[in-house]
Symmetry: C2
Subunit: 711 residues, 2 copies
């Protein structure tokens, strides 16, 4: 027991050391010309101002929620577990606030590193592609490591504090249920971080484009546009802070869910079944560190994407090997009838998970990259105008949901059946299989996250290079990295949706375990969620509707916030003389300020909608209905997210394809049509889609925390 | 027993008499000028040519399906019911082919009446608004009456032939299950009719617009455009033939489903519980006839929509009163414990259904009419270009799903609970309540269908008036009727989705009844569909995905078929000299021919997709998984259809609003942006959306017919 515990903390310390090294490495790099630094400083200031204000709003919302959680669990949980109901509800509350804090911290670290790496990557491009690539990836790796290490630290420590390592059976089995607050806190913050950041980034982008490109006729990233800095800030607060918080809560929620299922298998695996997810995660961090350090390009003409993919393969391969030994060591328990568990089947589940992450990378690439039919079709349809571009894009987005769903379904089914084979006659066995598969898929999470943060860093590096008027050869390098970053961002989104889908069953099962505990049912009994009951059916109906309504509010929030930007830019053009001639500088800060206010205002409604609906369902229609809601909302959320992410990504690259010279190239009618598609796709792929990832898991952790309230 | 039977046939005879009167009335009207007749003849020829070819394709597909049905039921049903398995499977097969034939006939009648009423309505406009309104509505009423009377005739006669009126308990209880083939046949034909017609109408529309308006710069409905006749034909084959078949299969499937649930309540209501749906339908026809004859406008300045709405209110009111007595007479059975059924609660269910049809009319009107915020917002956002128009439209469409879902959920819940109160301790009681509610909602079906067919008739009348160069005062009248027809079309779609949603539970329950019969479970036992089982969850996942994939294929089919039109029109402009100067006539027929071929080719893939998926699910994953598939596909299908229909309708009217002079009026930049939105909305609201209505019910009838195959 002690050795596992030591190992986890050992890995956390290793992570900290590596983080320290990477930070030192990044900060030691050249900061480029004065012009570059000036722009970078603007971006940093804007991003920090946003996050400060956003965190204030989130903190206020969190404190209200904390009080509600403690009160609800105080009255709801009185009949359950060790200790008084006050101590139980306080422990859930503490977990919540810890989770919220860590999630916020993850977002902050992601953004801090991004705004400090972007300029160095831009400057590094002078030395060549490899130098810029290393800086951007290593800057991103800090975020990846910080997020996963923080998640591991938080869950492990709470588990320790709540008696998980005490050797006391009752405390050990109870601890995971008390940590759910941590997952909920993480999801809670992630929702608002992703929503607020997503609205910010696209409102600034759309607003800057509409008033700058369309009305004033100046190019993108032109320093005369007052909203241009807000646009660059957006990449950091949306993609870095948002996605950081998103993947933090993914790893937290899925770890905790898997631990709760582990509790129900306590008779077979004992303590090891509960901590298996933590150990798998710890090894995953090690594998990812190795993977990150292998990434390298030799020449400036090498494909940076190839190098990143090879690093991903190495990370996956190491995990594939390590997980075999981890499963063998930890999951070779003894069945009630005395026979040994066939751990090979359980290892099969982990393989299935790793396999699924590959599939998602391939399918996402197929639907969003410029080399394949879908994007080519959209570009082609731009020749007949914006309408056909939109129709084709929507059609591609909808179609892109098919293969992922088929593969997720297959993986869930196989993992479920393999695990049931390994653990015959145990009712929860199948669910644990999907938990192991999820751990397999998430084992590469650190690496994926590094690749993801790489995206906005290179995007900003490109912007800084452009705005500071750097020479052509540098811009070619940053442009190539930027294109590569677009792909990695799309792949990460696919990965995030895939893992959320795979985790459905494990989160669902952990919810059912809690329900059984509250109802006093034995943990190996089966709780049916019968969709033939009207309350369950209705919950499902409302769940799918919620996904549509939430997407609608998120998308229209971007439009509303963009309106504020448009009005402000128009005002500046009118009131500050000499802007257009480049004689006087626009007031960047006031634009940043206005988008910040707008985004924060607009994020509250969709956020509250998502939080209140499941609670209302549970309170009015009961526990079984809430379970149905959970499952069907997840199904719809995953599919809608795939539609939005892939559709948006495909439109974006269809525009890129035309800009590369096809169908008439830049400034042709086709190009104008493709710009319409890209603009429509922006709130799809960067606001609504990623927020849906969080929604899916938030619904799970939320129902877990509030289950005691449900009738 | 005889008296009910006599009544049903009496109503059918009355319907035939009224149809004869209306046909005579319509055909006695003036056919207008030679120019008008020429255009009308082109339309009629094109429509007939399409339907002839389409029906050939559908006939071939139907025969293949018939053989599969007979074979499957021969081997699957061997253990069930009276008679040999050969006789059983043949009876299902005969029902299938009868249903398919009647559905096709309904579509044909709808189209035939439409192409003959359009010109007379155009000519009637000379005499004033009321004259044109009467002709268009009465032409539409022929379709409405023919469709519902045919459905009643088919179901009642098969019920009679299969022993439903024989007094033999075994035969009576078995008959409804054998008629499911009728419902499936109807859905089968409706799917292809709606898909083929929907693809045709929008391919012609989009193709004609893109090459005519955009490339050649000639106005809409300009006789120089070779695709203009194909466009007008499209309204008839899509809206009339398609919707006719759609609502035919709705009434058929929902009647049969309700009868199957009636069987499970045989101990309480006896024979009356099974034929209640038929009697309710028969009275609904009478009420609708009265309603139709009350519609009238006094002056040319009156609002025709108001007159139509008042007719709808009268029809609803009559139904409200009649249904009370029908429920009282037929559903006052005796419970097993000897107490009387409280029929007031059951009447309450019917009231809920009628109420829901009202709600749908109001909500659809709110989201798609030019008088309310959603459409105004879209028009407003057109000022900043096509991209913001599209974003707002998508957002409105998604948002428009919320209220309908909440009201459907409420209605299902209330009807379920009321019925459970009326029939305590009977497991299927709640389902019967939703069946009664559905019967309540569908009681106005004839009237709604008349209003729906009114839409394309007035649309064509407007087109004919425009193309024949009729004087301004006539065009004002047909324009006003056309705008009114747009609204009725939107309302009918809302109604069709609403009834499909309300009917989910009844169709689901009838499927479960079949499953219980096959498994030898008592009819009052409960069959749980547990979404916590991986196979059920996966089925749901695939079901939602199917809805997205189907929408994608339907939408992209329009794009592909439109390409054929574009190429042909370009060819004619190039090869036939003097078209543009109006000196020589374009070859309308070849355009019609090409769209026909294109639409028929493109309808096969989405059609087969929908038919095969549930069968594969059932065969591979079993009966419970198929039930989960059924429920969750319905949920997603209803919501997606709402999104597509309302979004499309809102875009359409946002364009109309701008054309009326707001935001710069016709030919302004806002107008151009709104045309993009309208074009995107076209395949949404006229192809994918309506096809989804059929999909929802097809999945139900299909699983009912093939349940014997499922593992």
């Amino acid at each position: 027991m002690i050795s596992y515990f030591t190992f986890i903390y050992g890995v956390i310390i290793i992570s900290l050391v590596v983080i320290a090294y990477l930070v030192k490495y990044t900060f030691a790099q050249d900061k480029g010309t004065d012009d570059m630094q000036k722009i970078s400083n603007y971006i940093e200031e804007g991003a920090m101002a946003f996050i400060k204000r956003q965190y204030k709003t989130i903190a206020a919302l969190s404190i209200v929620t904390l009080i509600i959680i403690v009160i609800c669990n105080y009255f709801g949980n009185s009949s359950k577990g060790s200790g008084t109901s006050l101590s139980l509800s306080l422990r859930i509350g503490i977990a919540f606030i810890t989770g919220a804090f860590c999630s916020a911290l993850s977002g902050y670290i992601g953004m801090y590193m991004a705004v400090n790496s972007n300029i160095r990557a831009a400057a590094g491009a002078k030395k060549g592609l490899n130098s810029a690539l290393q800086i951007a990836l290593r800057g991103g790796a800090v975020t990846g490591l910080a997020v996963t290490a923080l998640s591991l630290l938080g869950v492990s420590s709470l588990f320790l504090i709540y008696g998980g390592y005490s050797g006391n059976d009752i405390l050990i089995k109870e601890a995971p249920s008390l940590i759910v607050g941590f997952g909920f806190g993480a999801s809670f913050v992630a929702l608002f971080a992703q929503l607020g950041g997503g609205i910010y980034t696209k409102a600034a982008d759309v607003g800057a484009d509409l008033v700058g490109k369309v009305e004033a006729g100046i190019p993108e990233d032109d320093p005369r546009n007052p909203a241009v800095i807000a646009d660059l800030v957006g990449d950091n607060v949306g993609d870095c802070a948002g996605r950081g918080a998103d993947l933090f809560e993914s790893t937290a929620a899925e770890n905790i869910g898997a631990m709760i299922i582990g509790v129900s298998l306590y008779p077979v695996f004992g303590w090891k079944g509960i901590v298996f997810p933590l150990i798998a995660r710890a090894f995953g961090i090690i594998a990812s560190i190795i993977g990150i350090f292998t990434v390298k390009v030799k020449n400036d003409t090498d494909d940076p994407m190839k190098a990143l993919k090879s690093g991903f393969c190495i990370t996956s391969l190491i995990n594939l090997i390590i997980l075999f030994f981890v499963v063998k060591t930890m999951l070779s328990g003894t069945l009630p009838d005395g026979t040994k568990v066939n751990y090979i089947f359980l290892y099969g589940c982990a393989v299935v998970g790793i396999f699924l992450s590959y599939i998602f990378v391939i399918v996402t690439d197929y639907y969003t990259s410029i080399n394949h039919k879908p994007v080519k079709n959209i570009a082609n349809s731009s020749e007949t105008g914006a309408a056909t571009n939109i129709i084709t894009g929507l059609s591609v987005g909808m179609q892109s949901t098919a293969l992922p769903v088929i593969f997720i379904s297959l993986c869930i089914f196989i993992a479920y059946k393999l695990s049931a084979l390994a653990l015959p006659n145990i009712s929860n066995a199948g669910f644990y299989g999907t938990a192991i598969a999820t751990m397999g898929m998430l084992s590469t999470c650190t690496y994926i996250l590094a690749m993801d943060t790489f995206g906005p860093i290179t995007d900003n590096a490109g912007g800084i290079t452009e705005m500071s008027g750097a020479p052509e050869e540098i811009r070619i390098i940053t442009d190539r990295l930027d294109a590569c970053g677009n792909t990695t961002k799309a792949l990460t989104k696919g990965y995030a949706v895939g893992s959320a889908a795979l985790a459905t069953f494990l989160l669902f099962s952990s919810y059912l375990d809690e329900v059984k505990k509250i109802l006093g049912m034995p943990s190996d009994s089966w709780f049916a969620v019968d969709i033939g009951k009207p309350e369950v059916f209705i919950s499902g109906f409302v769940g799918v509707m919620l996904v549509f309504l939430f997407s609608s509010t998120a998308i229209s929030a971007v439009g509303k916030a963009a309106q504020y930007v448009i009005l402000e830019v128009r005002r500046q053009f009118k009131e500050i003389p000499g802007i257009m001639e480049g004689k006087s500088k626009p007031d960047y800060a006031s634009c940043v300020d206005i988008v910040t206010k707008g985004a924060l205002k607009e994020m509250v409604l969709p956020g509250i909608l998502v939080i209140l609906t499941p609670i209302i369902i549970g309170v009015l229609l009961g526990k079984e209905a809430a379970a149905g809601f959970l499952m069907i909302t997840t199904i719809a959320g995953v599919i809608m997210a795939l539609f939005l992410n892939n559709g948006g990504g495909a439109w974006d690259n269809a525009k890129k394809l035309i800009e590369l010279g096809e169908h008439g190239g830049k400034n042709s009618e086709s190009h104008k049509a493709s710009v319409v598609g890209d603009t429509v796709g922006d709130p799809f792929k960067d606001t609504a889609g990623p927020s849906l990832h969080v929604l899916i898991k938030l619904v799970s952790t939320l129902t877990l925390v509030f289950v005691a309230l449900f009738s």
